[in-house]
Symmetry: C2
Subunit: 200 residues, 2 copies
């Protein structure tokens, strides 16, 4: 008992790792398409895997969704970081617009982010979602404060919350509609006054 290694040896079998990856991909795809309430059978079917396989790799459906979301949020944070230009305000507004576009294509994405809001019941499982994107938002806010374009009384938490709010409507209305609301919100965040709206 005392001699067993802390972590099991490297994947003893190749198909195990492959199937684990397929499950994560399938789960991520289905979450994106239909939100967080997916049928486990459908995940298994899309991954071309049996139910037993699914529940060997992940103790519960929640754990699988959680692992899949971690991948999604990590890649989001990576892509968002890569597209920074160093100009504070354009970076911030583009980050928000891109996040909402992403949310339009994957209605269930910010759904998960919302579940990680502080004070939510059972939030521990989804905390990593915020941990992926949270620091990035904090940095964007800090830079925008420094450049003087973001009103100083706005916190990263405010921006995060605003993103979640807009993310809840972005998938259910036509794109020009949510872009207008985003524009208004950005005007509210700016130190200067209002600017002309896009769209009709």
């Amino acid at each position: 008992m005392t001699s067993l290694p802390a972590a099991a040896a490297r994947a003893a079998r190749s198909d195990a790792a492959r199937n684990r990856g397929r499950l994560l991909d399938a789960a991520a795809g289905l979450i994106a398409e239909r939100g967080s309430d997916v049928d486990v059978r459908e995940i298994a079917r899309r991954a071309e895997v049996g139910m037993g396989t699914l529940y060997r790799h992940f103790p519960t459906k929640e754990a699988l969704l959680d692992a899949a979301l971690e991948h999604v949020f990590t890649s989001w944070a990576t892509a968002a970081t890569a597209s920074l230009t160093g100009r504070a305000w354009p970076d911030l507004s583009r980050f928000l617009a891109d996040a909402l576009t992403r949310q339009t294509a994957s209605p269930g994405l910010l759904d998960a982010y919302c579940q990680a809001l502080p004070g939510q019941a059972g939030n521990t499982a989804r905390q990593h979602c915020r941990q992926q994107v949270g620091p990035l938002i904090a940095e964007l806010v800090r830079a925008a404060h420094e450049s003087g374009e973001l009103r100083p009384d706005i916190t990263a938490e405010d921006v995060s919350l605003l993103l979640v709010a807009l993310g809840r409507i972005a998938p259910v209305v036509p794109e020009p509609a949510w872009r207008r609301i985003l524009h208004v919100s950005l005007d509210g965040l700016r130190t200067t006054a209002a600017t002309p709206l896009p769209g009709a």
Copy 2:
């Protein structure tokens, strides 16, 4: 066949009307507490009524929720109209704040409103929700335009959408947090520049 009256005679039995009211109250209460996905058994239990009674009065669960929501939205619109002062901007911002407070107490309320957004699938059933509050928002927007405090490029649809977005986060964060976001949004809607935030 041709001789049957267009509407059946007045409620032939007293308990029928009473139970109908109880069902509507129970449904409204449960929707408010837990959102739109309620167990019909629980509605019947709270109304102290059997399943058969429920499905005699309403052809489907959806129809019951729909009827209950109509009551809720009507009373909301009535209360909101009653608290108007005639000063355009305070009326508009108070309407929004009151709506969000209401939403905080009843997380499922704007959930239903959201389902009536134009372009949503199967939206016909919930259209009356918008029809209750929609004209009120339109009037508030018109008055605020006239007084010159609301930027002229904002439509009633914009305000309605903003309300839905904020309503989605109001129940899941502490009150000061969503009040800050509302304040920022109102600043974005105003023709003048930003004003100090409430809360910490």
